[in-house]
């Protein structure tokens, strides 16, 4: 049977991807950001997951205002890096796992989570920057990826509680798939940031570090934090952090924390990163 072995969370700031793509990762501004992932790239090379369920949000790329699914699952065989206005990132095409994705949709929808099934979709920096941070710059991504897109652009996004429960449903789905697969769940986006209005540039280290701690050690309680607390304390775009709860819901109640990293700033954003293993 397939099993969930580990979870990863990371910010997905587009400027991080641009820094890597343009050979700037050793510059003094960026070096500390990439250094925060040194452990994780080595750990990932040892873990060799077969599939990553990659929870992220689209940033007005694949989904315009014509259609805004709250939760969507990518069921295609491959997903191309999107042209976000300045050409696609020079990264490999993302290969999916259509059989597992279809199984997850079948299972999770019957488990009361109404995922939208997407059979054609380009993926933006929200999905490809985490892959770059964890795998570097390979010729091909070393595992299959099932994109799980969450609306956090058009308010209201799903609640933290709903996200946490979806994580549990994803786990039930994975564990009922009849194939010997190691599966990781990644939650991306965040941490505190606000990209708009006179309050742009918001960073809240206290909120972020508390969130990291509670995500690891008291996720049940953290999942009950209402939207307004995220928006007020972590900024209008800090609400992306609800996606991390999907990752956490898919893991055991008790986890082993392998790595924690926090850094300010990357462009407009606080960078946070966790590597958690199931016990």
């Amino acid at each position: 049977m397939a099993r969930i072995t580990a979870g990863v969370t990371t910010s997905h700031v587009p400027a991080i991807g641009a820094a890597l793509d343009n050979g700037k990762s050793a510059e003094p501004y960026w070096a500390p950001v990439f250094a925060g992932y040194d452990f994780s790239r080595k750990w990932m090379a040892e873990q060799k997951p077969d599939v990553v369920l990659l929870v992220y949000n689209d940033h007005a790329t694949a989904f315009s205002l014509d259609m805004v699914p709250t939760f969507a699952i990518g069921c295609a065989a491959e997903f191309r890096p999107a042209d976000e206005g300045w050409g696609p990132r020079p990264v490999p095409v993302v290969k999916g796992h259509p059989e597992l994705a279809a199984h997850i949709a079948q299972s999770v929808i019957q488990d009361d989570f109404d995922l939208t099934i997407v059979n054609r979709m380009d993926v933006d920096h929200g999905l490809t920057v985490p892959l770059s941070l964890l795998f570097g710059q390979p010729e091909a991504w070393p595992c299959l990826v099932i994109p799980i897109a969450v609306n956090v652009v058009l308010y209201p996004p799903p609640s933290g509680r709903r996200c946490y429960e979806l994580g549990k449903a994803l786990r039930r789905a994975v564990e009922s798939f009849d194939a010997d697969l190691d599966v990781q769940v990644w939650g991306t986006g965040g941490m505190s940031h606000q990209l708009q209005g006179p309050r742009a540039g918001l960073i809240n280290k206290v909120f972020d570090n508390d969130f990291l701690e509670r995500l690891v050690n008291s996720p049940e309680e953290l999942s009950r934090v209402p939207h307004i607390d995220y928006v007020r304390e972590a900024g209008s775009e800090g609400i992306e952090l609800v996606m991390w709860l999907i990752m956490r819901g898919a893991l055991n109640e008790q986890v082993i924390e392998r790595h924690r990293f926090y850094h300010v700033p990357a462009s407009n954003t606080a960078v946070g990163h966790l590597v958690l293993e199931n016990t």
């Binding site: 007005a60 006179p198 960073i203 928006v231 300010v264 462009s267 407009n268």
Partner: protein, 132 residues
């Protein structure tokens, strides 16, 4: 009965909710059209003519022409859609964000290096560390 919107009193912040998405639908879809290189060229050649192809309000069109991002957001624009405009202009996210705060790009970039802005709106000076 009107739904509660507890986020409306957050200083310096416009939440892009379903009502704003309704008001800003054509403005945001115009922005999406700039994902296409040919449309970007047409827009650069004649901004007014391109905007007139969309059923947007005159206020929305003028805000685009003025590159007044705060105004665009107050009229239903969302930052990820509006990003297509400043990307077409060759301006970075950080530079565009600075225009919404009344700071120069240099001042804004320095504030971020100092630790950003606290939730009450106060920029970090590099000396305080409570939030930044």
């Amino acid at each position: 009965m009107a739904l509660k919107k507890p986020y409306q009193d957050i200083p310096g912040t416009t939440i892009f909710d379903a009502d704003m998405a309704r008001i800003g639908y054509h403005l945001n879809q115009f922005c999406m059209s700039l994902m296409n290189a040919r449309n970007r060229e047409r827009f650069k050649a004649d901004e007014r003519a391109c905007l007139d192809e969309w059923p947007m309000t005159e206020e929305q069109k003028q805000a685009v022409l003025d590159r007044d991002y705060n105004r665009m957001m107050s009229l239903g624009g969302n930052i990820y859609f509006l990003a297509k405009i400043f990307s077409s202009d060759g301006i970075s996210f950080q530079a565009a964000a600075s225009t919404m705060t009344g700071m120069t790009q240099e001042e804004y970039a320095q504030m971020m290096i100092n630790g950003g802005r606290s939730p009450d709106g106060t920029p970090a000076t590099g000396k305080d560390t409570a939030h930044g």
